[in-house]
């Protein structure tokens, strides 16, 4: 099969199975297009969301981790070599502005259909936010703290890992939170690159009259975003206890 036809084929697969399932036993509220949510259908079909949800979590987690690893490494590099800062900011900025669907289609001839393509695209989107927040966090470390650390005999590496990064943690985690939440949203498009996820349940081949399905999938995505955010918030608060104590 020709690779550039794959996304549509994938959507077709999703849609076919959905319609198949739907036509097998039509519930009363399902036929009534004025109803926003069909509880009977939801009760019967909740099980079909399990696999897409897990896939979605996996996509987000891997993409953000990969994005973080790259952005963090770039930030540390740019922290040492200041001349790298403008080009890196520009490069990550360009990646951030590419429309998601276009990104998938651009990657398909290279990486083919599947999770890798999705992870590459999603990770690319997180770079800008994580990179910029890390740089901001490092830049916000007060000059006097850095001066004192140096004067006390910490090496550059020790200053980075023991002083600058711990102090930049709030900004870094804030960047991770934004990146994660937006990745949960963008990952719903993964289905167009054959990456699975909750998008499978949302893009159902133009059947927009039946909304229950979309509401459930969207709701799961929102809950997932909130859960990720709360977990990261917890990490942030744990890593910056000193800040809250000081505010009392």
């Amino acid at each position: 099969m020709n690779s550039h036809l794959l996304p549509l084929a994938a959507v077709g697969e999703v849609g076919k199975s959905f319609f198949h399932h739907r036509t097998s036993e039509t519930l009363p509220c399902q036929a009534d297009t004025s109803k926003l949510f069909c509880f009977d259908w939801a009760k019967d079909n909740i099980g079909r969301y399990e696999t897409p949800t897990l896939q979605h979590v996996e996509l987000v987690a891997i993409s953000v981790l990969v994005g973080f690893a790259i952005a963090f490494a770039l930030a540390l590099l740019a922290h040492r070599r200041r001349w790298l800062q403008p080009p890196l900011l520009a490069a990550t900025g360009v990646l951030y502005t590419v429309p998601s669907l276009a990104f998938f289609f651009l990657l398909l001839p290279i990486t083919g259909l599947g999770r890798d393509t999705v992870v590459i695209a999603l990770a690319a989107y997180t770079l800008q936010i994580i990179y910029r927040n890390t740089m901001t966090g490092l830049a916000n470390v007060s000059a006097s703290v850095r001066d004192a650390a140096r004067g006390m005999g910490l090496t550059d590496r020790q200053i980075l890992w023991r002083v600058e990064l711990p102090l930049a943690t709030p900004e870094i985690v804030a960047g991770l939170r934004i990146a994660t939440v937006s990745t949960v949203a963008i990952a719903t498009l993964a289905v167009f690159a054959g990456g699975g996820g909750l998008g499978q349940q949302i893009y159902t081949g133009g059947q927009l009259t039946f909304k229950t399905n979309i509401i459930i999938a969207g709701g799961i995505a929102i809950l997932m975003a909130i859960s990720f955010d709360l977990i990261l918030l917890g990490i942030q608060r744990y890593a910056t206890r000193w800040r809250r104590v000081a505010e009392r």
């Binding site: 006097s144 001066d147 004192a148 006390m152 005999g153 000193w242 104590v245 000081a246």
Partner: protein, 396 residues
């Protein structure tokens, strides 16, 4: 009396002399050096204040010692050893470093901040803990504050912790860059006094940078007045600097009120006091009047059996047959022989009194001080000679 050099409580292994040898710092290709051919010797255990207008290179000169600024030419020797030969990070762990903005690590507790250098040096945990407690006590903070974060402390407490952190690994030399510059005047004076008391115990070699000549006079055993390019205009003890400024620049910098500043270096006991005509309760007033005839002070001072002053007798008091128990005039300002002269003058002026009784440690009368004595002293050429013998700094 224990010797002032060593105390039993504070473990301190000593101090090293610091010597600048043609030390030069040039930034880039700039024609003018920030510090040019600086030669300066700071004896071990002394406080050397680098003072001068902003941009004179004093901070740069100080930073050459721990290599936070690298030498362009020349050398700096600590205890005879060139800093050039040392690994900068290792060198810095042996040198205490205190800066104006303190620079405590906000994400570390007070105890962790103080223990930072010992930790770098690989001390055992128990030893670091013991040292931290020792230092917190030394700077007058409750050891329980060790669990707090820096932001929970006042500015003055933070600066004390900054000093403790610099002292933690018992450095041979301390660098202090305007350490009390960002603190309100009242706390600053207290911190200065505390540091002087501390220094009297630990006797570190201290390079102290300030732009405030009053602070320099107060803190320094020696003062290097610097002008642009890190040139030393004069290097002298505070008293010498005030008595004999080397040139116009130093004279200007020291200020027109240097006569008053000299008073800050003296104590009441350093000056010849007047003798008070003393009177006791029940003494015949005729006897007191006879005393008054030759006295420098025109009023008799009533004292008790222990010669402790009670008050001044007025003309009306003396009109009676014997000296009354209650004098007409209150005692007014009462000074101690160890009071700093400047404070004594302030007391006199504030009490709107012409004369003030001076007492010794037991509270017995030692003499009388007047504004007249002070002004005569400052005007007389003899003051020079007197002051030579009286350069010991006031300590609280």
């Amino acid at each position: 009396m224990p010797t002032p050099e060593v105390t039993e409580e504070v473990s301190s292994t000593g101090a090293s002399a610091v010597r600048y040898e043609n030390a030069t710092k040039r930034y880039g290709d700039s024609a003018e050096a920030a510090v040019e051919r600086l030669n300066l010797e700071v004896p071990a255990g002394e406080v050397c204040v680098l003072v001068g207008p902003s941009g004179c290179g004093k901070t740069t000169a100080m930073r050459l010692v721990n290599r936070t600024v690298e030498l362009s030419e020349g050398d700096v020797l600590i205890g005879g050893e060139s800093v050039r030969k040392r690994d900068p990070a290792r060198l810095r762990r042996e040198i205490g470093y205190v800066i104006q903005q303190v620079g405590l690590f906000p994400h570390r507790t007070v105890a962790e901040n103080i223990g930072a250098v010992p930790q770098l040096l690989g001390w055992k945990k128990d030893r670091i803990r013991a040292r931290t407690v020792e230092l917190l006590e030394l700077i007058g903070l409750d050891p329980e504050l060790g669990e707090r974060y820096p932001a929970q402390l006042s500015g003055g407490q933070q600066q004390r912790v900054g000093v403790a952190r610099a002292l933690a690994a018992d450095p041979l030399v301390m660098l202090m860059d305007e350490p009390f510059g960002a603190i309100d005047p009242i706390s600053r004076e207290r911190l200065q006094n505390e540091f002087l008391r501390l220094q009297a115990e630990i006797r570190k070699t201290v390079l102290f940078v300030t732009h405030d000549i009053d602070e320099a006079i107060k803190m320094g055993d020696r003062i290097a007045v610097m002008r642009k390019g890190g040139h030393v205009a004069q290097y002298a003890t505070p008293a010498e600097l005030l008595m004999a400024p080397a040139d116009e620049f130093v004279e200007d910098f020291v200020g027109a009120d240097r006569a008053l500043k000299r008073l800050a270096l003296m104590r009441v006991s350093d000056i010849d006091l007047w003798e008070a005509p003393l009177a006791h309760v029940g003494q015949a007033t005729a006897e007191v009047r006879a005393k008054l005839r030759d006295a420098e002070v025109p009023y008799p001072l009533l004292v008790d059996a222990e010669r402790r002053p009670l008050g001044w007798l007025s003309e009306r008091d003396l009109s009676a047959e014997t000296v009354p128990a209650r004098p007409d005039n209150p005692l007014g300002p009462l000074l101690d022989r160890d009071d700093v002269m400047r404070d004594a003058l302030a007391d006199l002026l504030q009490g709107e009194a012409q004369y003030a009784a001076v007492v010794d440690h037991q509270g017995r009368i030692a003499g009388v001080l007047s504004v007249e004595i002070i002004s005569e002293f400052l005007a007389s050429p003899k003051a020079k000679a007197e002051e030579r013998g009286a350069v010991e700094r006031p300590r609280e």
